[in-house]
Amino acid sequence: MAQVTVAASRPKPHRFRRARSRVPIWHVAWLALAALVFLVPVYSVVQFSLSGIVPGQNPFHWYLTVFDDSGFKSAFWLSVQISLETVAASLILMVPTVFWVHLRLPGLRPVMDLISVLPFVIPPIVLIVGLAPFLKTFSSWLFVRPEVLSLIYVVFALPFMYRALDAGLRAIDLRTLVEAAESLGASLPRTLMRVILPNLRAAIIGGSLLTVAIAMGEFTIASIMGFTTFSVYTYNIGTSTAYEGVALTFISLLLVWGAMLGLYLLGRGGRSAAGVAITN
């Protein structure tokens, strides 16, 4: 629902207080409760996915079974493909647009801000109601191809991609860079590729990571349109063999952790960023 950027360690003016202040017991209690809520389901997932095994069998039986399944391989590969296509389509659409708005049409920025929050107002389950019949008449060829998911996910990634790029472009002196490049004889596309893109690297990687997280986890549209992506496969297998479903749940957890670790490492240089891209 929201992307959150938490400005990290601002200077602490009263460090001398730190030594003598004691943490009240209820603060400790809330922190402990939060840790419990965070960790108990994770522990249960690990425990559950390693149980229900005949003695003498490999403890990772359910993981091995599910990895061996050709259905898993094709579903996972499909999701990876869709994620990469979503990132590519999103970057191709958004980078030039946001760059152009910042450079030549700054008056359009409020409109862009508004459009970028629209996907929150119109969640996937609502959008698909209008989108499915429209796409079917618009292009029945596209409607049955998995690429259509990438094109739709670009919309869900829009808030995160737009905010990442907007913040990135705001942080650099765009006008000066462009004019300097122009005065050295560079064309505008060349300036974008050689001068602006390198300066937006952190924003692009951050936005792309969140986009991958969305595309890998999206269930609503994929299941309604009848594509067996990773999350749809997880659901299907989980309803027949709970252990395998939970094993795949642990894989999903690792994927989310990977994306968040990437964001964390990215933000460590300057400010720490905690992105939220919900796929519920």
Binding site: K12, P119, L131, A132, K136, I152, G245
Partner: protein
């Protein structure tokens, strides 16, 4: 420095050629045309179609009967359960998130707590949908790890508890709600100025006195606003509830109507989706109203 000067010179050069500049500006909108075309096809036109569709018969004539259908069984019960579930999960998530955010920011808490809880919050807030539902099945399902553990201790939570019930589902939703609240609340609490704390402390107020007379009054609009945001977040959730097996939810009713090429009853699906948009727009209006009240005090 040198770059800035170059920019200045370039500005002067451009200013010397006003004709060229105005011409580029006139055509500048062409650069955003692809974006607007894309957004129109995949977001704006479909949304417009569904809103118009909510007021149309299958033949295209204007009607209010689709919208009236929302108020007939089984939909009112679905809306009611959706609203209850969203409200309860927003309340649990909002309260716990606020208390934890406040604890994280206490100056006596060790340094490593903050990045660790923030990273965990980032992860948990993103951990939703099918995997979240399955994780809770493994935890508190009838064969779940915690259920079994409690059973060994003589505490049998089934059959009075169920993950498909209001409380069970709200507990599952809380897993992504309270970390989101932590992430959104931390900047708000940080906005409470250190000088206010010192002033209160000079006047003899303890921690409770500060929160009662200064902290809470300043933070309350934000606290309410963000809780409303969590409400909207839960209200639009579908995958988590579907994988949990919750049956009487608006989002799930919509999915049933659209599933299989929209042949069943698209008019009802349009009307239900329209009803959801109305509720989400109301929550966002309340949120932004409350947000504006807070920004008066917080930097």
């Amino acid at each position: 420095m040198a770059l800035a000067e170059a920019g200045l010179q370039a500005d002067v050069l451009v200013a010397a050629a006003p004709r060229k500049r105005s011409r580029t500006r006139r055509w500048a909108f062409l650069g955003v045309l692809p974006f607007f075309a894309y957004i129109s096809i995949f977001l704006l036109i479909p949304t417009g179609e569904l809103i118009v569709g909510a007021f149309r018969t299958a033949n295209g004539a204007f009607t209010l009967s689709n919208v009236k259908d929302i108020f007939h069984a089984p939909y009112p019960a679905a809306f009611e359960f959706s609203l209850e579930l969203s409200a309860l999960s927003a309340f649990i998530g909002g309260l716990l998130g606020f208390l934890v955010a406040n604890a994280i920011l206490h100056h006596g808490v060790p340094r490593w707590i903050r990045p660790m809880y923030l990273s965990f919050s980032g992860m948990a807030a993103n951990f939703a949908g099918v995997p979240l539902a399955f994780a809770y099945g493994a935890t508190l399902g009838s064969l779940g790890v915690v259920t079994t553990l409690l059973g060994h201790l003589g505490l049998h939570i089934y059959p009075s508890f169920s993950l498909q019930g209001l409380f069970g589902a709200a507990l599952v939703y809380a897993y992504f709600q309270f970390p989101l609240m932590i992430l959104l609340m931390i900047p708000v609490i940080e906005g409470l100025r250190q000088e206010w704390r010192e002033a209160a402390s000079n006047l003899g107020a303890g921690s409770f006195g500060f929160w009662r007379h200064i902290g809470l009054p300043v933070v309350t609009p934000s606290l309410l606003g963000l809780t409303v945001l969590l409400f909207g977040n839960a209200f639009s959730a579908y995958a988590t509830a579907y994988a949990l097996g919750v049956s009487n939810l608006v989002t799930i009713d919509i999915a049933q109507l659209v599933d299989g090429n929209m042949t069943l009853n698209p008019q009802d699906a349009y009307a239900l989706a329209f009803g959801m948009i109305v509720i989400i727009v109301i929550t966002i209006a309340i949120y932004s109203f409350l947000q504006r009240r807070t920004s008066r005090w917080l930097r």
